[in-house]
Symmetry: C2
């Protein structure tokens, strides 16, 4: 049996990574979704090992120090990261795994796991991205401007990725990602 | 408008290149099929520029000498080749083009056009390939043995290709090739 492939789906905030990933989940039941580790407390209904691997701060710091995380970040006082172990066990079992992640995290994963396949999800245009961020209705003008600046910086990091997929329509974006998954399995290893 | 991509579909004789190519033609009407040049006489109903570009022997030798062919071969006294011009004009117009060709010819194309995408069509197994060759009912044992030896030699050349597609079922093989085409268009140029 051949090993699975790690696919990393990334792109600027607001581009629709989560929506595309949920749609893919429906279409590709064999594709495993990476489960993150976090130090934040479980919310009601969240199950350890399904929604997150819940860790104490000490356990998380231990994982960081022992290179057991493919990437990690701190967000409003809690740590979040991708356990290397879960990814590697999934690949060893012959299954593909997909990781939906911010651009900075994806570049950390690329350092530690260069054999992964890195897919950058692009908005159809910057105007469209701005509309989507405004559309959430939760951001003031300064925040919107800041997020747009970050998005442009992130899009400039696209050349570190293997593929660019435009998220014009969810179905089209999913079809492109499915195609990338099939094609990568046909690739002849050099 | 971005340039098209040259896809080269190759593989051992008997693997089903022609059948897969015809099926693809039905599914992907925008994909252009390369038209070969030949010195053989047109058969009834064959149209110049559609079935073949019909050339005199002198014209063909001229094309060879002026590097106007991506590959060529002699077969029972006639020359057959792939005009570079037709391929390049199609790509410039933004269309993809597919070339269905024997293994030796594909390797010639790779020398002259390394930016092409080279797909090797594989039988599900060598036994299955033998069955397909025998199934044609036109070959004696010595011919069958010879063709199997050539097929094994050709399969050993697979590492010069970019992708391997197993032709287990025509629909599945077509889906893999379609996926490769879509994925190649998403690739980030390095």
């Amino acid at each position: 049996m051949s090993k699975g492939i790690l696919f990393v789906l990334s792109g600027p905030s607001g581009v629709g990574k989560g929506t595309v990933c949920s749609a893919l989940r429906g279409k590709l039941p064999d594709l495993v979704y990476s489960v993150s580790a976090t130090t934040r407390s479980p919310r009601q209904g969240e199950v350890n090992g399904v929604n997150y691997f819940f860790k104490t701060r000490d356990e998380f710091l231990d994982m960081m120090q022992n290179d057991q995380l493919l990437e990690y970040a701190e967000y409003v006082g809690n740590y979040y990261g991708t356990p290397r172990d879960f990814v590697e066990k999934t690949l060893e079992s012959g299954n593909d795994i997909i990781l939906e992640i911010e651009v900075q995290g994806a570049l950390q994963v690329k350092q530690k796991f260069p054999e992964g396949v890195f897919i950058f999800l692009l908005p159809p245009s910057l105007d469209e991205l701005k509309d989507r961020i405004i559309g959430r209705g939760t951001e003031n003008q300064a925040t919107i401007d800041h997020r747009m600046t970050v998005a442009v910086d992130e899009i400039n990091l696209m050349q570190h990725y293997d593929y660019a997929v435009v998220n014009d329509q969810i179905d089209c974006a999913c079809k492109r990602i499915e195609s990338i998954i099939i094609a990568e399995h046909c690739k002849i290893k050099k």
